[in-house]
């Protein structure tokens, strides 16, 4: 699993042509980066893997429906220096979850902005800080985890992230500690040029018996065709209770690729949410490694797409131990000519007896021109397991609309109620109440905008 030690042979004489600028950028970057050796090694491995792999194409089975050629064609402009002139707390206020009073870390174009960040009420030993700082000052809690869960050798984007990341959040919760307030991480892009790329790297470690809630929001103050390429490694120790939410609300021109590489310990309870609202093209990879017995995890997600947006979720749930439950619930609401992809792979290894794995992906098409691709993939090597999957792609239920109309509710209101309830099935699973309520409002507002647009076009 650990790829950083094995130095893959690099053949810089024959890199894929498209990766040459990346390689050149890396050589410049390496000169200015002041990393400890173990990070340097990982970065080198990252760029080698990237050069070897190149960008995925439609021929790649895992990227059949998602064409990243537009990303490959962009000029590559990683943001190597902080650029946050002009970004004020006021400008970011409406991106924040107002109901959260806990710690907040803000990153602008991939760089930590300490003056916009604050930490409050952290219990003994809990760390909420910049990863770059943690690497520089206290690698003891970082080194055992960083790069161990997100694999550079299997993904060009993770490889690129590993090579170029500047910063991200480091959250460490020692054994038995409970962080009472959710931690908010805000990633804002101010990109002025196409191809501007922020590589964010986050590491979240919740040691055994600890509890923590983390909200990652990706937002934008930019109109450019920029790229966010982020990787979050999440480790939930034995008995840990973790809720993690990613809200992707990038600009309509943006490209957004993230990987959540997660490792769950015995009897842990993890709830993750992926809410995709923005970006021209977004891809969310979630790799959950169920590494201890008797744990329970829920991977929950909602995507709303309109215009020509594409939202892709690629899930791998890896049952390595017995008596684990995993539930995936993903709903999508697609308007206009937009597209979605859901790829849900469930792997049940020979030791994972008594696995209970469920997966549902439901897609609501609000237009005849929208397309939802859904692909379950079950690989089961144990015999005493329960695995179910179900996928639907359809329009609003006509019977339900008639039922509501027969109860005095007008056609438009009936449609809205049903669309809202479809999103609500997912939002209702957010445990953290202020986040759930604000998210509900945000999603509701977006859906209303869409509805007004559709009815306006009639």
């Amino acid at each position: 699993m650990i790829t950083t030690e094995t130095k893959t042979k690099l053949n810089p004489n024959q890199p894929r042509r498209e990766t040459v600028p990346y390689w050149e950028k890396f050589e410049q970057f390496e000169k200015i980066a002041k990393d400890p050796e173990w990070v340097r090694v990982a970065r080198k491995a990252g760029i080698s893997h990237f050069v070897e792999l190149g960008f995925p194409t439609l021929k790649d089975e895992d990227w059949r429906f998602t064409n990243v050629a537009p990303i490959a064609k962009l000029p590559f402009k990683p943001v190597l220096e902080p650029t946050r002139d002009g970004v004020t707390a006021e400008a970011l206020e409406h991106f924040m979850f107002a109901g959260l009073a806990g710690s907040k870390l803000v990153f602008v174009d991939g760089h930590f902005a300490p003056e916009l960040s604050s930490t409050v009420n952290l219990p003994e030993g809990v760390k909420v800080k910049s990863l770059a700082e943690a690497i520089a000052k206290g690698p003891a809690q970082v080194e055992p985890h960083l790069f161990h869960h997100a694999r550079s050798d299997a993904s060009a984007f993770t490889a690129l992230n590993t090579a170029f990341f500047k910063d991200g959040a480091f959250i460490y919760v020692p054994a038995g500690q409970i962080v009472p307030e959710p931690i908010q991480l805000l990633y804002v892009s101010t990109a002025k040029e196409d191809g501007t790329t922020a590589h964010l790297r986050n590491l979240i470690v919740a040691e055994r018996d600890s509890q923590v809630t983390i909200v990652e929001s990706y937002v934008s103050l930019s109109d450019a065709a920029y790229l966010t390429n982020s990787v979050t490694e999440l480790v939930a120790g034995d008995n840990a209770v973790v809720e993690h939410l990613k809200l992707q609300d990038e600009s309509q021109q943006a490209f957004h690729i993230t990987t959540l590489a997660a490792h769950f310990g015995r009897a842990s309870n993890v709830l993750t949410h992926s809410i995709a609202l923005g970006a021209k093209l977004s891809r969310t990879n979630i790799h959950a490694h169920l590494a201890g017995e008797g744990l329970e995890c829920i991977l929950n997600g909602l995507y709303l797409t309109r215009g020509e947006q594409l939202a892709d979720h690629y899930m791998v749930v890896d049952h390595a131990q017995a008596h684990c439950d995993s539930h995936e619930y993903f709903n999508g609401i697609l308007a206009d000519k937009s597209k979605s992809v859901f790829h849900g792979r469930i792997l049940v290894r020979p030791d994972a007896q008594k696995t209970d794995a469920k997966q549902t992906n439901k897609n609501l098409l609000l237009s005849d021109n929208a397309t939802a691709n859904t692909k379950p993939q079950l690989e089961i090597y144990a015999d005493d397991v329960k695995c179910t999957h179900g996928a639907t792609v359809g329009q609003l239920n006509e019977e339900a609309i008639f039922y509501l109309r027969s109860r005095c509710i007008g056609l438009e209101t009936a449609r809205r109620m049903l669309i809202h309830s479809f999103a609500g099935e997912i939002i209702d699973r957010v445990r953290c109440q202020p986040v759930r309520e604000e998210l509900d409002k945000l999603v509701w507002d977006r859906l209303e905008q869409d509805e007004q647009k559709t009815t306006g076009n009639k």
């Binding site: 239920n397 006509e398 019977e399 339900a400 008639f402 039922y403 509501l404 109309r405 027969s406 109860r407 005095c408 509710i409 007008g410 056609l411 209101t413 009936a414 109620m417 049903l418 809202h420 309830s421 479809f422 609500g424 099935e425």
Partner: protein, 256 residues
């Protein structure tokens, strides 16, 4: 004579390439209870659906006048706001839509339609609790999504509970008795009777005479193959129970 609540004249209707109703005539006046009986597939639910405004049926002839206006011209929601209520033979589950939210939205539409101020959450809850007593509906019904996970009998009871909230002028009950146990049947029938007033009317579709012991009809109509082949008083239901539809179809009786 008072104006009828509903007048159906020579109504023919069907779906693409198939006629289902073949000339229905029916007049319902205030204070009356009409029962419609008939074999499976004879068109009872089709009639109910067309009255409630379901899309997808072609009206090939005739007319329907409701309280002096052309019913077929109105959208389904406008019919409901004007007081037409259909208790579905197969109530629809709507996961994700909370029952209280749904009922309040429905009820407030009626209030708006009548020019009354809308009820806020507190006023509505007070009002709805009262209505719940009529049908002995458990509190739990309000908290769950509409019909979601309800048993067959619970769904039927929920339909009549909605009727109690919306207080229609013309209630059409499509086989509300099927799926109800004996006790529930009594509760539902008692509820329906309590909602009966001199200025409203009920059209009750059923297969069983049993229901009509509780909800006593003024008229019983027998619908066979899209036509009302016979109309009589409540004793007609007993006759059907004993002899089945065959005798009537072949007895050559003519509608009244």
């Amino acid at each position: 004579m008072t104006q009828p609540i509903l007048t159906i004249k020579n109504l023919s209707a069907g779906v693409e390439g198939r006629e289902i109703l073949k000339g229905i005539n029916l007049t319902i006046r205030p204070g009356e209870v009409h029962a419609v009986m008939g074999p499976n597939g004879s068109g009872k639910s089709t009639l109910a659906s067309i009255l409630a405004g379901r899309d997808g049926y072609h009206i090939t002839g005739g007319e329907v006048v409701y309280c002096g206006q052309d019913l077929l011209e109105l959208e389904a929601e406008d019919r409901a706001r004007e007081g037409v209520f259909l208790a579905f033979q197969y109530p629809v589950e709507i996961p994700g839509v909370n029952s209280t939210y749904f009922l309040k939205a429905a009820y407030n539409e009626i209030r708006k339609h009548r020019g009354q101020p809308e009820f806020d959450a507190v006023e509505f809850l007070k009002f709805v609790r009262e209505r719940m007593k009529i049908l002995e509906v458990p509190e739990d019904f309000l908290k769950r999504p509409v019909n979601h996970g309800f048993s067959g009998g619970e769904k039927k009871r929920n339909e009549i509970f909605q009727m109690a909230v919306l207080d229609p002028k013309l209630a059409i009950l499509d086989e509300t008795d099927s799926g109800l146990d004996i006790d529930a049947l009594q509760i539902v029938a008692t509820g329906v009777n309590r909602l009966k007033r001199p200025d409203n009317a009920q059209l009750v579709i059923t297969h069983y005479q049993r229901l009509l012991n509780f909800i006593v009809p003024d008229y019983v109509h027998v619908l066979v193959d899209g036509r009302i082949v016979r109309t009589g008083g409540k004793e007609l239901a007993l006759e059907l129970e004993e002899n089945g539809y065959e005798s009537i179809v072949h007895g050559g009786a003519v509608p009244a």
